[in-house]
Point group: C2
Chain length 581, copies 2
Amino acid sequence: MITRMSSLFLRTLREDPADAEVPSHKLLVRAGYVRRVAPGGYSWLPLGLRVLRNIERVVREEMEAIGAQEIQFPALLPREPYEATGRWTEYGDSLFRLKDRKGGDYLLGPTHEEMFALTVKGEYSSYKDFPVVLYQVQTKYRDEARPRAGILRGREFLMKDSYSFDLTDEGLAESYQRHREAYIRIFDRLGLSYVIVSAMSGAMGGSASEEFLATTPTGEDTFVRSTESDYAANVEAVTTPAPPALPVEGRPEAQVHHTPDTPTIESLVAFLNGAGLGREFTAADTLKNVLVKVRAPGATEGELVAVAVPGDREVDAKRLEAAFYPSEVALLDDADFTANPFLVKGYIGPKALQDNGVRYLVDPRVVPGTAWVTGADKVDHHVLDLVCGRDFTPDGTIDVADVREGDPSPDGKGTLVAARGIEIGHIFQLGRKFADAFGLDALGADGKPIRITMGSYGIGVSRLVAVVAEQSHDEHGLVWPRSIAPADVHVVIAGKDDTVREGGARLAEQLDGAGLSVLLDDRTATPGVKFADAELIGVPTIVVVGRGLAKGVVEVKDRATGERVEVPVDEVVAHLVDLVA
Amino acid sequence: MITRMSSLFLRTLREDPADAEVPSHKLLVRAGYVRRVAPGGYSWLPLGLRVLRNIERVVREEMEAIGAQEIQFPALLPREPYEATGRWTEYGDSLFRLKDRKGGDYLLGPTHEEMFALTVKGEYSSYKDFPVVLYQVQTKYRDEARPRAGILRGREFLMKDSYSFDLTDEGLAESYQRHREAYIRIFDRLGLSYVIVSAMSGAMGGSASEEFLATTPTGEDTFVRSTESDYAANVEAVTTPAPPALPVEGRPEAQVHHTPDTPTIESLVAFLNGAGLGREFTAADTLKNVLVKVRAPGATEGELVAVAVPGDREVDAKRLEAAFYPSEVALLDDADFTANPFLVKGYIGPKALQDNGVRYLVDPRVVPGTAWVTGADKVDHHVLDLVCGRDFTPDGTIDVADVREGDPSPDGKGTLVAARGIEIGHIFQLGRKFADAFGLDALGADGKPIRITMGSYGIGVSRLVAVVAEQSHDEHGLVWPRSIAPADVHVVIAGKDDTVREGGARLAEQLDGAGLSVLLDDRTATPGVKFADAELIGVPTIVVVGRGLAKGVVEVKDRATGERVEVPVDEVVAHLVDLVA
């Protein structure tokens, strides 16, 4: 295929768009790949659409390779199935809701677990039908609070979502693993740098959910990685290793001290170190008791829960939320303190909490035998040498303290450093939540129903165009990997005389004949303009047909490395065919 | 590619779905191509999605062949551009409207003229940039009052919409013609029977808009065609040939007669024929004056207009609406008659109308010299021999009388007969309406702006799946044309023994190796079930691998004709490759 720039619907821009901050947004607009038509809504111009379709092709090939079957749902969906799973309300403001002419409630699908579960229930009924993996490449809608960065976070976007249906947990684990491998192949073929991070710990089990994050300094998501191993995780998923328990014997008695005006950790540590106690205290020696209200889904009343973390750490809001999910969690307000007079603000300790039936959950570092300074449930008083397992017994552990660079890596190798990334894929062992909502069963060999277990797997297809651009560009423009470039070769006719023009056109036809796709710059613009546009557009190989033609050579330039070689014109087709293959 | 039915996500149904009336709907559901998920909302299962993609491919190839460039817009669009052209309100209840989390107004695009016009305005500015043709294959939304017939009339559907942008009317006419030819090639490749009908007459000019209607008795659209020529038109677009004018001289004087109790044409004709006037009257001799209110877009007040049609015809509501478009037109109610006492109901004549400044438009058959019986503006009185051009002069003609089978064809060849069809394509010379709304100009060679003129062209891509099914099926199931079939060959393994099973699998692999796509029925079902499913699914060629294999032959069956031939197993690959090519 030859695409002639003289008639291509493309106007490149010399200036960055005013609303663009990240490189991919600037360059995709400047190079004429996308245009903004609404907040979080973009049109795809011809070159952009080609890259998008190329990415779709890679995704489809790898999905087919693991036996996934493509189907397609509408984007406009009825309320009822989403009501049945609670997601009609759970999605909050992120869901686009609308009414039809008869007043019926509809939504624009943000993801399709409900529809796939119902469809499998409609078609399949026997254990012999399973497992099955279905997928679609389909337009999704989310009413983002802050659509940003062009197509990186839009409100309408293209997604590949797939769903696995298995009879057993082991089957689900296999389907999950196959998706994981397919995703690795997809992102490798796109030439991306990425990490696979544990996305959630706790309730869902360690490996039940992983995210693929493309590493880039402009990423919205923070994660941590080890300095010395492959370990990487979302901050929510980092598990703190528990230190070994210590012997209780021989530890000093717990003692209540008068610690006037010490409602904060800082004031407490300063007071203790000035109190002539004969030892040094740090914030890490204190135990901070934070009170939260936890409300289970559907419940009207919340439960009071105490979370204890070492005084040198804060409770991380996202980790707190993840730890209690799907319950909602909130800090206490003044009214709550008034209603619970045993809570002495600034001086809360485990005794009053446990005496009053408040669940007491502690950081994993609080193991038996560790001694703490903490509140004595009385204004201006703290207790020292309160030993876990002797003076108090926690109701459980909770891993919600903030994670810091320098913390030991959970796999025991190296320490953690923070990094930023963009979510490009998410794989998730859903389990039986959706099957339960719709009664999705298979009839077993023994005539008894088997509840199906599901996995859900997503790739942000349109986002990937921006992610690749974000990782692969330089100061001159985009640098597409060959697998998804809008053309194989960009032929620049650099000269106005007929020999050069005809030579360029003939070369384009020969390349087309050899099965390559060619972007041919046959415009009347100056060579300077054409070179700048070629760099901006980012086709991996640029061929300049110009003055050299008189000597029988053309210049072949590698967009990524900038390397140029002169190639005899009668060898250039074979040379380029080799290069592309 | 080999698709194995043992694992294909497909369950065929023996019974027609309860809500299906037309054959395509019944068969596409029974054969497992689509499933209903909401009113007017369908999911595409694997085989259906393949046919849809094949149709998309044909459409894209022919669009690219006329130089159209593919881009893609969001479906979720902001209100403002549609407000600027008046379509935000004009679409009425057919438009899905919604609000985002900030209360901003959005719509789900029913068609994208506004967005394409704005995009061209954003990119192009010089006369050298034009003409340009852009298109997309994109999901559209219309909140149909009565979604019906499965995917024939859905609320979410896939459409190819293209738009041409030209500097001159001649350029637009050429762009229109190129689309017309591309559409003919597309529908021919799909093997469809269709007619091209004039879609609108009057204001827009005769050939400014044509519809492609697939002819089928289950079609929603009525059209007329000539018994003796290629003439075909929507009822709205039929033009009535005017008879030659007659001489006025020597015609009897107009005379008012007392015609008691004759407010209807029927009662009037009966009275006249019993009045001993010495001649026979028919309804066609009378002139019926129908009063309407016409309200221009944006106007608050309507204008009173009289429409005169021969008494043997009714005013056709759709033709009336088309004749006054974009004004709105309504019949008079009692209050209007009370407010205009010169209107004597049942006895209205041209005199009182024209004396009171009411615009008087007449049927094309009312030419100078024709004499009519009509109202005398007085209860129980009519006037006879009122001669057009002598006793009254119409303010213009209007072609809104009903069209009947047997009417002469407007091209002078044969007479009209009624037929039914389904709209599959629409081509439309829009002119400058949208360019005017957005100030879409090109700077001319002389430095002066040139207002761009647009064409708009649509094909209902998803609907075509149903339309082909509607025209191509028999009592056993679907019969796909080769160009869009879900597979090239359906290989049925008819037997349980290993030789047959292995023979079928080997044949499928050989066919795959030869570049054919194969649907392989490797299920454990009985041959009877497999044969029935093969007929239902409708792949054009069915190969039965069964008992004959022992003699070295397989059976090749043509789905459309039912013809069967035995082919030696070592020749069958070559035979099928020939057949498919």
